[in-house]
Symmetry: C2
Subunit: 260 residues, 2 copies
């Protein structure tokens, strides 16, 4: 290895593989090969980043330094089982936040994680200058290798073991998935009354921007933290036609009240 960057094979051609592949290309890190069960998807990504394409796991390059499994969580083990690699060659990592690195342990001596903590979608560019890239391998030597690759595409690299990652993943669900759903509810509520949801966007931006600087506990405002039961009752009345949202409103308000 020395100063040479490892040669990479990308297993997968979905959102994560797409953005990782383009970033490797952008930073001059060669990707040898892209695998996808759908050859058109493999070819599209491969072509864009100067790699070769295959839809046969049995045919992938056996001599790469790093295999990145960017596939759905429930496909990781099946794909790992089918990879035609000897257990000791190369380093095999997956990009999942939900799965521990050790799901790869039965198949390879050298395994780990390469987890970009971000919400990916094809249509939106991903800023590798700000996202945190979480890496892990039980072996020090492999951690060093992953750190090197990670730092070549991203300034914010964290070593996060499996236990920490699972906690981080729950926290990410709260920060991203659940927050998104609260905004969905807010949009439904305003849409139903013919109010433009855009009115609320500056508030959402300000909420995120304050949390970038201050602790959430200090930034908590609203009827629940003030104990303003009159306003909360009024809100619950407005939510009457959606018992589930009313129930969420109650539970969230109770949980906020307990932080006082």
């Amino acid at each position: 290895m020395k100063n040479k960057l490892p040669s990479i094979v990308l297993i997968g051609a979905g959102n994560v593989a797409h953005h990782l592949g383009h970033r490797f290309q952008e930073m001059g890190i060669p990707v040898l090969e892209v695998f996808s069960r759908k050859i058109t998807k493999a070819r599209k990504l491969a072509k864009a980043i100067g790699a070769s394409a295959t839809n046969q796991l049995s045919a992938i390059s056996k001599t790469a330094d790093l295999y990145i499994l960017a596939v759905h969580d429930d496909a990781i083990e099946a794909v790992a089982r089918q990879l035609p690699l000897s257990p000791t060659t190369g380093l095999v990592v997956h990009t999942s936040g939900a799965m521990p690195s050790k799901v790869l342990k039965p198949f390879f001596k050298n395994y780990g994680c390469f987890y970009p903590l971000q919400t990916f979608s094809i249509q939106k560019a991903v800023d590798f200058e700000v996202l945190p890239l979480c890496i892990f391998s039980p072996q020090q030597r492999n951690r060093q290798k992953l750190t090197k690759v990670a730092k070549a595409i991203c300034p914010n690299v964290y070593t996060i073991d499996d236990a920490q990652k699972s906690v981080l993943h729950v926290a990410a669900v709260f920060v991203n998935n659940f927050t998104n759903h609260l905004c969905y509810i807010a949009k439904e509520i305003t849409d139903q009354q013919g109010i433009d949801f855009d009115i609320l966007k500056p508030l959402l931006n300000e909420t995120a921007s304050k949390l970038a600087k201050y602790a959430p506990k200090e930034m908590q405002t609203g009827p629940a933290i003030r104990g303003d039961q009159q306003t909360m009752n009024k809100h619950l009345q407005l939510l009457e036609s959606h018992p589930e949202w009313a129930q969420l409103y109650k539970l969230l308000s109770q949980s906020i009240a307990k932080t006082k």
Copy 2:
């Protein structure tokens, strides 16, 4: 009135009065007087914006065009009752998102709302170029007056009646207060495991930035929308020591699943 801007009296010297007062000053709109029960607070704000200060409601100027009540929700009626104005002089508005404008109706013929939809804190500057300012008065003439003042300090002015405002206020609770609380939970979870909450901040920013462009329904990701019960069970196990958070996790996941 014609092209002259109305003369303004600010009732209150808290967060909202502070930011409104400074914005009026910045945009060259004279504020005659600032009232606060605490004369030191009244004087501090008044001095900064070139107004006079008083802590006697009975002593305030009776001839201003616009009285802005920027006081706590539960003080609005009490303060309105004590304002030494004839029912027909001037226009009296409050800045509350939770209260309808009509709480002022028993006291004044000319009343309304002047509600900046933003989360205010003294320590952080407020960007009047992006926040939405919601105004309302039942009289067309007063709505025009309020629109004129509002547009002088803010490009995004919306006319929102009492019914719409109460809906908007519930939605704002979801977008700001509840989102903030989810981040509080995320921080508690990561703190307890010695993980730096900062790792999650880019994810939060990206969440807000995506919602600025795309509908929340399109942006929903995570185990709940995928129906990934295995991951959800794992997360619930990790939340075992906080039954309330686990309950929130369940309810939010169920609510997300219903949007499929």
